[in-house]
Amino acid sequence: MGMSLFTPLSWNDSGFILTGVLNTVYISLVAITIGTVLGLAVGFLRAESNRVTNTLLGGVLDILRSVPLIIQLILFSTYIGAMGHPLNPFAAGSIVLSLYTMAFMGEVFRGGFESVPQSMVVAGRSLGMSYWQTVLYIRLPIGMRAVFPSWLGVALSVIKDSALVSVIGYMELLRTSEQLISRTQQPLEILLGVGLFYFIISYPLSLYGKYVERKMAI
């Protein structure tokens, strides 16, 4: 009677897998939400501010966008740990992924704000609106509509990029599946399943983005 070292995948694993799925969804939602809010502020600042502020801000964002996410994650969690303030993987991952998202969203929203013709803002002012009313009622809604497809594109890539947070130990979908693979030795089934999950989330959203884009082009 030979005892197998490995236990095959079974229904008992579904809770574990679900945890991974939910953690992926959770950290993605956190990063997209925080990244969108910060990105709005950054994009607005970039559209409004003078050359000096813009160059400084642009430099920081360029760094965030060009250093690979995986390196930012490792650097940040190592540095924070070395400073004596170790953070749990979720917190560290959320911070890095949110800032990374912010850097991309900032450029998207900047483009949105800049796409609103100045003459439309002047029309608002001529009706007695204050500066902030034109931001809130004219530039924000018109600009955001224009860049919605790009926003969705960034959000989708954040969902996929969130898999990298596994390198600092966050139990998202990829990491749970790696653990399952080492236990079950069934990489094909598991990785196909994981791939399918990302596809099921991303594909309808990207179709929706294309639909909106087409609708707005008319």
Binding site: P117, L127, G128, I142
Partner: protein, 241 residues
């Protein structure tokens, strides 16, 4: 009453207004004509305080537009403005376009703002377009919307900046009809325009603008039929042929 006294305005090095004087009494229609680049639009922007001036005064109903303490957001409620570009808000329906400012600037109740907006839209002949989005309408309709949107703030004065210049020729008439209706209703108006025949017909006074000053000011009879200055004569012979 609007009093414009010795107004100078520059954009950096470029001096655009070089001492403009003009009075506009309640109920008057004044048309401003003149070559492109002579500073006509700039003058309108200075009247509602969207552009600063370097010298002189502009007084609207006893309020000094460019004085330090003046609340220009409040002041602009008295001064409706319509532009060459239609500037419809594309994310809002026609009714929302016209009721937005009454709601958020005058802080009227939504129902009240909509009531006023509907009334103004009816007056410009857009009663069947309340729920339409402006981008689906013709230029003439969008320009009439812009007029109704400004009127919904119940301004004392209307400033029109070449409101027919971006329109296809066949749509000019409907917008000019709207302006005629307003002038018949007694609205005080300053119209920058290239429509000389229209200006002659509706205006109490015509101001010919040339290189940042009012070169000639008078009744349509004086300025258009019997221009005294050579520059006025040259300009008119160019645009009338």
């Amino acid at each position: 009453m609007i009093k414009i006294q010795g107004v100078y305005k520059s954009f950096d090095e470029l001096e655009v207004l070089k001492g403009v004087d003009l009075d506009v009494k309640k109920g008057e229609v004044i048309s401003v004509i003149g070559g492109s680049g002579s500073g006509k639009s700039t003058l309108l922007y200075c009247i509602n305080g969207i552009e600063k001036i370097q010298q002189g005064n502009i007084i609207v109903d006893e309020i000094d537009v460019h004085a330090k303490g003046t609340n220009r957001d409040n002041l602009r409620q008295r001064l409706g403005m319509v532009f060459q570009q239609f500037n419809s808000f594309p994310h809002l329906t026609v009714l929302e376009n016209a009721s937005l400012a009454p709601r958020i600037v005058k802080k009227l109740k939504k129902k009240e703002a909509i009531e006023i907006a509907k009334e103004e839209l009816n007056n410009v002949g857009l009663s069947d377009k309340f729920d339409e989005y402006p981008t689906r309408m013709s230029g003439g309709q969008q320009q009439r919307l812009a007029i109704a949107r400004a009127l919904a703030m119940k301004p004392e004065y209307m400033l029109f900046d070449e409101v027919t210049s971006a329109l296809d020729p066949e749509l000019v008439g409907e917008v000019l009809d709207t302006l005629r209706m307003l002038s018949d209703a007694g609205m005080t108006m300053i119209c920058v325009t290239h429509e000389i025949a229209f200006a002659r017909e509706v205006s109490d006074k015509i101001a010919f603008f040339h290189q940042g000053i009012i070169e000639e000011l008078g009744t349509p009879e004086q300025v258009i039929s019997n221009p005294q200055k050579e520059t006025t004569q040259k300009f008119l012979s160019k645009v009338l042929h």
